[in-house]
Structure formats: C-alpha cells, structure tokens
C-alpha cells in the first residue's frame, strides 16, 4: 500500500466525511430526544409487515426498535454507503477520468498498490462515519433515557462499518476495473438499493427467500446488533467479500489500459 496515496485520498474525502459525521451525530441526538415524547405513540401504530421490514422490522415503541428503524435500517447504511460509494468511485475511476491517475501512475508506484491505498482510505472514511454513528447513538440513547448497552451500540457500529467496507469495495472493484465513474457509482448504488429491497421483501415470498443471501443487507442487518450483539458470521462474510472485491479491483486495473 502507498501511504502518500492513502493520505491524500482521505484528505480529499474529509470535508464530506466530517459534514456527514456531524450531521449523523446531530440527527441521532435529536432522535434520542424525540423518543420519550413520540416513541410510545408511534409504537401503537399498526404497520404492515412489508413496510416494517423495509424499516428494519423494529418495534417503534421500544428504544432499540426506535433506533433500529431510524438509524440501523435506513439512515446509517444510507450515509455510510453513499460516502463509501462516491468516495471509492471518485478516487479510482473519477481520478482516471479527470486525468490525475495517469500522472500518478507515471510515478514508480505499482497499480495494485495504488488501489490498495485507495481502498484503505475509503476504509478509513467508513470507520470515521461508523465511529460518528457510535457517538451519535451514545448521545441519542442517553437523551432517550437509556436502554441500549454500549456493547450493543458498538455492535451496530461494527456491522455498519463492514457494510460500508463491502459497498466501498464493490465501487473500488468497478471503478478500478473499468475506469468509468458513472458505472461504478450507478451499479454499486443499484446493488445496495436492490439488496435493501430484496432483504426486506424476499422473506415474505418463500420461493424467493434464498435471494436474501445475495443481499449485503442480509449480512449487515440479518440480526439485530442492538439486541443481539455482533453477527460474527455476517461480519466475516462482508469482510471476505470486501477483501475479494478489492483484490478484483487490483487485478482489474493491472490488466487494462488507462482511459485518460
């Protein structure tokens, strides 16, 4: 891995990451503050199972259900996924389209090492957002009056980080393998959204239940970290997929011509 490449890639992503982190913390603090007033009312609402699944299947009337539905199911993966995907696409295919990668690769740095450094930087982006989620949850749960252990909050942050690693790695693989930013961003976003829908709806149709195994959301949110702790198997799968996709990106860029 090239440390200068990782450092400058992270530096370029930092403004967006810091904004997102501050926003996440603020939103979670606000959600925590809201829970004592609205949680019990919303908890009495009758929500169809399909909609409930989309929202993480949590019970809004409990503190864990509240944060599972608001943060774990939607807001957390949306923010971490968006930053990982846009960051990975921009720092690989984006830099190639902007003609910066051609200059960098005229220096004595092997292409696979460059991609490894980009992946490390995006991994750092993901860890920062996951840590911000952890802080936000600690603050939000405190505002809500407690009810979720630090261990379970940490479990959610860990699972969220691995979800970010996987989505970022897919964008790295596509960006490095093709040099096309729009393709890397679009396909990865589509996979993430389809994965969310599949994981929510596939279990409702027994014939399609197997599809959930193809969804990154299944491994991220297959079980609730806020009540059950870390899903070790899910995290391992997401970790292996991330490593494999990063490896594919390293091989992909080595085998092709740079576009610009």
């Amino acid at each position: 891995m090239s440390t200068p490449v990782a450092r400058i890639t992270l530096r370029l992503r930092l403004p967006a990451v810091v904004s997102a982190a501050v926003g996440l913390i603020a939103v979670m603090a606000a959600l925590g503050a809201l829970f004592p007033n609205v949680g019990h009312t919303i908890g009495r609402l009758s929500i169809p199972r399909s909609v409930s699944n989309l929202l993480g299947g949590g019970d809004y009337g409990t503190i864990t259900g509240w944060f599972r539905s608001e943060i774990a199911a939607i807001y957390g993966p949306l923010v971490i996924g968006a930053l990982a995907i846009t960051g990975a696409s921009a720092s690989t295919a984006g830099e190639e389209e902007d003609r910066i990668l051609g200059l960098v690769l005229a220096h004595p740095i092997p292409r696979p090492r460059l991609i490894a450094a980009k992946a490390a930087a995006i991994g750092a982006v993901v860890l920062i957002v996951a840590f911000a989620t952890w802080i936000g949850l600690v603050v939000g749960v405190a505002f809500a009056g407690g009810g979720i252990t630090l261990a379970h909050i940490t479990a959610l942050a860990i699972q969220l980080a691995f979800f970010g690693f996987a989505t970022g790695a897919l964008a790295i693989a596509l960006g490095a393998g093709t040099g096309l930013r729009s393709l890397a961003t679009g396909v990865t976003a589509a996979v993430a959204i389809l994965g969310w829908l599949i994981n929510s709806f596939a279990p409702l149709v027994s014939a399609l239940d197997w599809l959930k195994y193809l969804s990154p959301f299944f491994y991220y949110a297959g079980h609730d970290p806020l009540t059950q702790g870390v899903d070790v198997a899910g995290v391992v799968v997401l970790g292996l997929v991330s490593a494999a996709l990063t490896g594919l990106g390293m091989i992909g860029i080595q085998r092709r011509d740079l576009r610009a």
Binding site: S2, T3, P4, V5, I8, R11, L12, D98, R99, I100, G102, L103, V104, L105, A106, H107, P108, I109, P110, D257, L258, A260
Partner: protein, 300 residues
C-alpha cells in the same frame, strides 16, 4: 553518446480501430538528445508517450527505455523518467505545494534544493489552490514535477502549452543544460516553431505512422525554399508558375513570393526579365518542413 539508445521502439503498435492509434513505430533516441516528436493533433504522439510509460499496453511491437522493457520493467523506468502529460491535471482543491510534496513522496522524496530552484526558475505559484491557477501557471507546476527528481529521461507532451515567452526561454535554457549533462529529452509539439529552437533531430508522425526521422539540418535541405522578389512594377505571377521546381507563387502588389525545390536558377532568370529592386530569401522554418512532409505523405 552511449551505444545503447535511451528510447528504442520496434514495430510499436497500438491499434484503436478505424485507423486510429499508432502503427509500426521504429524509433531510436540517443542519450543527451533533445528529440522533437511532431505531428498534428491525433497523429499518435500522446499514444506513443503513454505506451513508453506503460499507461497503455501495445497491441504489438515493443519499446525499450533506458535499456529496459517498457512493460515488464515499467516500475524502474518510471523511477528514472520524468513525465509531463499533454493534458496535465492536478487535484483542483489542493495547492501546488501540497501537490508537489505528494508527487515527491511518490518517488520516495526529491532534493528540495532542486525542487525550489525549479519553482524559482519558472516562477511557479505553489501557494494557491490549483483551480485558481491559469493554464500557464498549472503548466509551470507540471514542469517542476517532471524535472524535480533529476530524471535521466524526460518525456514531455506539449510542454510549452500556455507558457509565456519568458518562461519558454527559461524552459529552453533548462533543456539545453540538461542535454549538456547527458540527460535526454523527448518532447512533442504540434506548434512547430517551439521545437525548432531546441531540437537537433526530430520525427514527424502522421495518422499514427512515422513520416520521417532526421536532423533538422537535413530536413531543411529538402524543404521548400522561398524567394521574395520585389519588382519596380507589378508583374504577372503566372510567369513563374510552371517553372522547374516551383510549387507555389504568391503576388502582392510589386512583390512576388515564389516557393521552389532544388535550384533557384529558373526563378532568378525569370525574374531578371523585369527590373528587380530586391531579392530576399526567406528562412525556412519547421512549419514549412512539416507541411512539406505532410503534403508529400498525403500525396503519396
């Protein structure tokens, strides 16, 4: 000069289809040369340079740089070569200083005194974000980064683009110094007069194929020459057309400009039929040489 060329290509080809790319390039550049690589846009100059640096891979043929294979030894080549891409770009939000530090780190560091001397020599602005710099000021950063690690070979794609005349002078002087130190420069241009000032030998490329490689001196010999003849009264320019070797005739009032190849005898004798006030030979520049080969190749 060393026995081994610094750049040697053999049948180097990159076929993009539809006649685009580079085809069968055989070229040698010797140590200490400032070698001009000329051609119109799309002729294959940048493609050649990208092949030499392994940014793209050849369809067939091979290139050896500093005695090393351009594909299998590319890392070592890139360590010893400085490159200025034709479409030089940097991270727009970062300053020139940060960018130069970054690119130096990619090389494991450079001599800060050499870098600072280059910055001063070119008058590069390293404190403002790159997006606030003019094309010329960005190009200065490009030159600094290409030279700052004191490479054995410089591959420069359109290096003078956007530079003001004073910086161009400074650039030309630096090239001469480097050549004197035994370093080699391979530079492309489609603005021919830029190359004429610094190069002794050049190649002309057209539609991906090498048209000619020769010294500037030899190229001048075969180029079209021109005489500007001022008469006492206007004369019929048609008198000069059809004379042996004459390729073009232009009349402007009492002045007729005649372009010809070979001997001037027929032109001078035809002019002598009238009262001649002055005959001025026009020094051929590279533009004429280039156009000569361009036309000759197209006709062929």
């Amino acid at each position: 000069m060393s026995a081994q060329p610094v750049i040697a290509t053999s049948g180097l080809t990159k076929d993009y289809g539809s006649g685009h790319g580079l085809f069968g390039l055989d070229l040698e550049v010797q140590q200490g040369e400032i070698f001009g690589f000329l051609g119109p846009n799309g002729a294959g100059k940048s493609t050649t340079m990208r092949l030499l640096l392994d940014l793209i891979r050849p369809t067939s043929g091979a290139a050896r740089i500093l005695g090393l294979d351009s594909v299998s030894d590319s890392l070592e080549i890139r360590r010893r070569v400085g490159f200025l891409p034709g479409d030089f770009a940097l991270y727009p939000k970062l300053s020139g200083r940060v960018m130069l530090d970054y690119l130096a780190q990619l090389r494991g560091g450079v001599n800060p005194r050499v870098r600072d001397a280059l910055i001063e020599r070119f008058g590069a602005d390293i404190d403002r974000p790159v997006r606030q710099l003019s094309t010329g000021n960005r190009q200065k950063l490009g030159l600094v980064q290409a030279f700052m690690h004191e490479p054995e070979l410089l591959i420069l794609d359109e290096p003078i683009a956007g530079l003001d005349p004073l910086v161009q002078q400074s650039f030309h002087a630096l090239l001469a110094e480097l050549s004197g130190q035994g370093r080699t420069v391979f530079l492309s241009s489609h603005t021919l007069s830029e190359v004429e000032r610094v190069t002794r030998r050049l190649a002309i490329l057209r539609q991906g194929r090498l048209v000619v490689v020769d010294s500037l001196e030899n190229l001048r010999k075969v180029a079209v020459q021109r005489l500007e003849i001022e008469f006492a009264a206007p004369v019929d320019a048609e008198e000069f057309r059809g004379l042996p070797g004459v390729s073009e005739v232009r009349a402007d009032g009492r002045t007729v400009t005649v372009g010809f190849e070979g001997s001037a005898d027929a032109v001078v004798k035809a002019a002598a039929a009238h009262e001649v006030r002055a005959i001025r030979p026009r020094e051929e520049d590279l533009e004429d040489i280039f156009l000569h080969y361009y036309r000759a190749d197209g006709a062929g």
